[in-house]
């Protein structure tokens, strides 16, 4: 085989001259290199030695034989760019999907590596939608909007915000725990969970800022509320955690945020609730999408999900559920004042909210393939804390 000729002219190996040589060697045969860079006679043999290539003088040139050492022998493609495989191996680790992965990379502990358990075909679209819908708390919310509501209604806003912060913290931390276990081969799901977590971080920020707009202290956090969230936090199964958090919890929260939007005493509170609800709707959509796909592949999942609701209900039976202060704060918010007529109206609105939440949960359970009667029974067992 005739050697491939490479003429480096005055290009030195210390300024990129190794690239034409390496490219020629990659063809698999001998390479004859000429060049008149002042240090080529020093650099070329040293470069070859480090790579296991034999080099010899051949007249005014150097003759280089490719090394037998091939880092890429046994390498494999980490699937295809546009299609996730069903069971990506741990040895693909953090490699980009579709990259050529050198053999011998460390196997990472990535237990969420089953496509059926995590994937949703909608993930890429939902991620793109989320990326386009990111809003800046500094400019998207009219922090200086006038507020003329009574002091007690402001206290009610602070209590509701305190409750929202606690719940959104759970909604941030639960997917975070699974994100660290998810095989990054499922890139779109990883990206969607990441932006979902960023959404929650922003919600925690704006709820905190709204709560402290006119008050120096936050409201109450109850043991019952925390017990409800702790049962979410402790759930080790991704499907069950997403079901309880996204489909049931965040689904109920959607109704709550719409309620706050409709009954907000000021433009700032209305904007905070409206923007958070837009984000939460995507979280619910992803939960429904990947669980719907999962149920289609594994119908027995429905029984496990139902059992999880029943188990959680039993575990929380001794707790008081939604704390009275949050309930009362919602009534006062919807009432907007202390007249009997206003309080009656507010109370009716909060009772209607519970019905709206129940309707939403039932519809989502039916979308996951539960029979309407079963969906109604399961929805009734959902935590009284809403999330």
């Amino acid at each position: 085989m005739t050697p491939v000729d490479v003429d480096l002219a005055d290009l030195g190996l210390d300024e990129g001259g190794h690239l034409p040589v390496a490219r020629a060697l990659a063809r698999g045969g001998a390479v004859r290199v000429r060049g008149d860079a002042p240090t080529l006679a020093v650099d070329l043999p040293a470069w070859c030695r480090a790579r296991g290539c034999a080099i010899a003088r051949a007249g005014d040139a150097w003759l280089i034989e490719p090394s037998a050492a091939d880092r890429w022998r046994g390498a494999e493609r980490a699937g295809a760019i546009d299609a996730a495989v069903d069971h990506p191996p741990a040895r693909w680790g953090l490699a980009a999907r579709g990259a050529l992965v050198e053999a011998g990379a460390p196997a990472l502990d990535l237990p969420l590596a089953d496509k059926d358990a995590v994937w949703a075909d909608e993930a890429a679209r939902l991620y793109a939608q989320a990326a386009a819908a990111q809003w800046d708390p500094a400019t998207a919310i009219p922090w200086d909007a006038p507020a003329e509501h009574p002091a007690e209604v402001e206290d009610a806003v602070v209590q509701v915000m305190t409750y929202l912060i606690e719940n959104e913290t759970a909604a941030l931390l639960v997917p975070t725990r699974f994100l660290g276990k998810l095989h990054p081969h499922f890139r779109e799901v990883m990206q969607l969970l990441a932006i979902q977590i960023a959404d929650e971080a922003r919600h925690v920020e704006v709820f905190t800022r709204r709560a402290t707009l006119r008050r120096g202290a936050l409201g109450l956090s109850t043991a019952g509320g925390q017990a409800s969230l702790a049962s979410l936090f402790a759930e080790p199964d991704f499907a069950i955690a997403s079901f309880l958090l996204s489909v049931l919890g965040e689904g109920s929260f959607l109704a709550l945020l719409w309620f706050l939007r409709d009954h907000a005493p000021d433009a700032c509170t209305r904007a905070v609730a409206t923007l958070a609800a837009q984000d939460e709707a995507r979280h619910v959509a992803f939960g429904l999408a990947h669980l719907g796909r999962h149920c289609a592949h594994d119908p027995s999942l429905r029984d496990r999900l139902a059992a999880a609701i029943e188990r959680r209900h039993a575990a929380l039976a001794h707790t008081s559920g939604l704390n009275a202060e949050v309930f009362d704060a919602l009534v006062l918010l919807a009432a907007g004042g202390w007249t009997s007529a206003a309080l009656r109206r507010g109370h009716a609105a909060v009772v209607a909210l519970a019905t709206t939440m129940d309707d939403g949960r039932r519809q989502r359970l039916v979308r996951l393939g539960f029979a309407p009667e079963r969906a109604a029974a399961l929805s009734g067992l959902h935590t009284r804390n809403f999330m």
Binding site: D14, E15, V42, D43, R49, A50, A69, R73, G104
Partner: protein, 276 residues
């Protein structure tokens, strides 16, 4: 059979994962292997002569020390293996392109930045060649981690920094480090010229005294069979800087031997080791 003990010098933190990896590989291949790390080559050579270790991963200077000390005691040292990258190295004497001397004769009386005092490649061999050419210079040592025989690149890097700062008129480095320092951004293209390149010499080897341990043949066999194609072994070879192990040879140590004979350092060290 008792373990075959290898001695190596801890010139860098990576030495531990390297030899832990080799340990697993050798044991998996039936060699009862363990290793001991020393802080400097002189202590390793003394331990080898005492029989504390069966095979020593020696610098070229440590090889000469072991060979001469063994010979003085009527014993025999042999180099059983070396890396492909240990063969036919050269060192270069760099000067600044804008103001440096044109030939090695012009280096006479000049300040020459060298590496650690016991570095074969960055000090002893290039200074030896200058002395043989009758060029007397003023060496300016950059003693990073003395006792490790220049295995640590810091001394050469400091010598090049001194050259660029104008503190010395020339700097001695191993050929491959010229490119390495260019990649680091320390040496801009065209910033230095090579005023002298030494004759090729060899670097480290696996040294055995007398007939060695009963498992030494199997040790060498497993070592030489290590393949860069094996993904379990490749990271170790990358860390140790080789693509394959080769049989040892001792033809590449003459220039260093002349240098340490001429400056008396080898004889001086041999008096400290005493009769064995």
């Amino acid at each position: 059979m008792r373990d075959l003990i290898l001695g190596a010098v801890a010139y860098d933190a990576k030495v531990v994962p390297i030899w832990d990896g080799f340990l697993a590989h050798f044991r998996a291949h039936g060699v009862p292997f363990d290793y001991v790390l020393y802080s400097n080559y002189e202590r390793q050579v003394a331990a080898h002569l005492r029989g504390d270790v069966d095979v020593a991963w020696n610098s070229p200077l440590a090889w000469l020390q072991a060979q001469h000390a063994a010979a003085a005691a009527g014993r025999r040292a042999q180099a059983v293996a070396m890396r492909d990258t240990d063969r036919d190295l050269t060192s270069v004497i760099l000067v600044r392109a804008d103001r440096g001397p044109a030939t090695i004769a012009d280096l006479r009386g000049r300040r020459i930045g060298v590496g650690a005092g016991d570095s074969p490649q960055a000090t002893l061999i290039p200074l030896g060649e200058l002395a043989e050419a009758g060029v007397e210079v003023v060496p300016v040592r950059h003693d990073v981690l003395v006792g490790k025989h220049g295995d640590h690149v810091g001394g050469e890097r400091d010598a090049v920094k001194a050259l660029l700062a104008g503190e010395v008129d020339a700097a001695c480095v191993i050929d491959g480090n010229r490119l390495a320092f260019a990649r680091e951004g320390l040496l801009a293209p065209g910033a230095v010229r090579v005023v002298h390149q030494t004759a090729p010499y060899d670097h480290c080897n696996m040294t055995v005294l007398d007939d060695g341990h009963p498992a030494i043949a199997r040790f060498v066999e497993v070592l030489l069979a290590m393949s860069y194609d094996d993904p379990a072994v490749r990271p170790l070879l990358d860390l140790e800087g080789l693509t394959r192990w080769l049989p040892g040879r001792t033809s590449g140590y003459a220039a260093l031997e002349r240098a340490v004979t001429r400056d008396g350092s080898l004889a001086a060290w041999l008096t400290t080791i005493g009769p064995r």
